[in-house]
Each structure stands twice: as C-alpha cells, then as structure tokens.
Amino acid sequence: MMGQPKYAHYMLIVAAVVAGFFVLERLPLGQQISLSLGQVLVWVQAPVRWVDDVSLWFRRTSEVQAELVQARQGLVESSSLTQQNQSLREENRALRALLHITDIQGYQWRAVQVLGRSPEKKSRHLIVHTQAHEDDVVVASTGLVGLVNQSRNGIAVVRTILDGSQAVPVTLHNTQLAALVRGQGSELSVDFIPLNQAPNIGDVLQTSGAGGVFPPGISVAKVTRVDEVPGRIFAHVEAVPTAHWQRESWLAIATHAAASVSSIPQTMP
C-alpha cells in the first residue's frame, strides 16, 4: 500500500512529461536550438583548424616543395581542363538553344559550407553556414540533398530528403512517369508508380519540377528494389539518395530568384 502513491506520483509525472512533449513537438524547438548551436560549432571546430595550421609549421621543407611542384603541375592541367570545359560549355549552350531545352531558370545558386550534421549513419539534418530562405533547395554535386527548414543569423538548418516529412515529386528521364519520393530514415520509398511503368533497378529518378519547389532535372534517387504487391495497382519501390552529403563539406543552395531579390544581402550584386 505504501508503494501505490509513489507509483501514482511517477505515472503522473510521466504523463505530464509526455503531454508536454506532444505540445513541444508541434513547436520548431529543435530547429531553433540547432540554429543557436551554429556558432558553438564554429568554436568547437576552431581548435581542429588551429592544430591543422600549426602542424604546417612542422612539415619538412622538401615535402612542401614537392607539394608545390605537384600543385603547379595540377594548375597547368586544370587550366587546360578549364579551357576545355569552357569550350564544351559553349558547345553545350548552343546545343541546348538548338534543342529548346531550358536551363534551370528562376533560381540563384551559391555554395555554402556545412557546419554540422546529425550523427546518424545517413544524416537527416544539416547545419550550414549561410543566410537562406525557408524551402531553398540544397543540392550536392551528385544530387538533391533537401530543403532549408529555418535560417537565422547566417546559420540555416536543412532537412534532407531522408527525413520522413519530405516528399519530392520525381520522374524518369524521357518518360511520363510522375511519382513521389519520401524519406524513410535511412532510405527512400517511391510512391505512386504504376506496375506497368515500374523502373528498373539502378534507374535514377529526377525531380520533375511539379509543385514548383524543386527545380526540374536534379538527380534524387537510385532505385534499389521494385516489388509487385498483389492486389495493388502501384509497385513497391525502394531507392537510395544519389547525393552523398555525409562527407560533403560544401553544398549548393538554390534560391528562387524572386525571393533572392528581397532579402539575402550576400547574394546581392
């Protein structure tokens, strides 16, 4: 009998905590704390940068000279590659004009540094060093990463496409397919793919541009599994992101041109 009030007391506390956190989950508290931690991450990373800088003093001169020679060779090679790249870009532009293929227009692109990421095997959230708008599109060199969730004081938090709340309209190149990629934590599911239009394993799904949030033509997911579900008209399709943001230090952010005119100081000419 002595134990019962004690247990009731604990259960009341647990109930209050659970109820309190139902309320808290509705508020963007996690995002706000992540934004506040942005500056702390810069401070935490500072000693590592100092150690890197100091270690340079202890490196042998011959090593540094060898690296200089290598870097010069690399520079020569990269300048020839740049020239090649420019001529190819010109050629590409001319071909695009001929084929009436529109480029990704209406967006302003810029590179941003990744400050931190959530520590799961495949991070669902990133913290980046930039001022951005809500729903700005974040892209790695290998594909779509996600959307900016919130931004404050030059720090932005990004919800990647692995997050369960994200849905990306996709298509297969040169097809009429219209499907939806949704985050499942560590992989992606692809919804609304009719059985007769099911992609092959290894096919890459791209943003379709439907909805106007994501620019069309960005790689999103590589199909890893296609199953027929008896009695259903849609196939069960699983995929993995094409972008590898777990190790990328820099990402690109696309801001809608209309939004960028209004309020991002560093993107102004």
């Binding site: 259960m11 905590v17 956190f21 808290l24 989950e25 931690l37 702390v40 959530s118 095997k121």
Partner: protein, 133 residues
Amino acid sequence: MMYAFLLLSILGLSCNLAFADTWLQPDWALALWLGALLAHRGYWPWVFAGVSLHDLVFYWSPWVCLPWIVLMPVLLIWSDSQAGPSLVQRLVLMVMMMVPLWLAHWQVPALILTTLLTLLIWYKVSQFHAQSA
C-alpha cells in the same frame, strides 16, 4: 555538479554535430545522462531535461530516446523492489537504452563506444557519491 553535466552535454552535442563526418564518436550527451541516472536515480529531472535537449537537437523531436529514459527510473524502482538493488538490472537497462540509438541508425561501433563511456561515467559518478556520503 549537474550544471557541469549540462555544459558538458552541450559540448558533447556540439562535438557530435561538428565532427559527425570525420570521427567515430560515442553519443557523448546520452552517455553522460545515462551514466548519471544509473549512478543515482534522483537525478531524473536533470536527465529528462538533458535527454530532451539531446533528442531535440539531433532529431527535432522528443520521441527518440526520451520515452525510453522516462521509463528507466520507473523500471529501476520496480526491478529493485522485485529483485533487490543489483547491477544486473542496471546493466540490462543500459543496454536497452542503446536500442533507440540503433533504431535511429547510429553505427554499431558508436553504440559500443557509448556503452563503454556510460560505464565509465556511471563508475565515476557512483564514486563521487560514495565519497560525499
């Protein structure tokens, strides 16, 4: 001591976020709070607050580790009353707390590191309590 724990846990959260791509790390903050709770269950208000912060920072939701940690003091009291206070049920509960991390797709080596760090903190906090008593 709990204020120091809070500061250390914030530092741990920052380390996890800042070096997630470079170093294999334990979940510093969770190990800290779990070790403290296992050593002295009277710390539960601090532990609840700390683990809430942990969940909100990493997952933007309080439903990853918090429900498990909320159950822990209750399970500790219940198991102590059933079997008497012992290390066994505490060790089982400590391993149980790795399940939400595993479900949240943490790497297995990171889980092992977290467990080892929890053991160390549990031992140190218990020692501190024994000395102060």
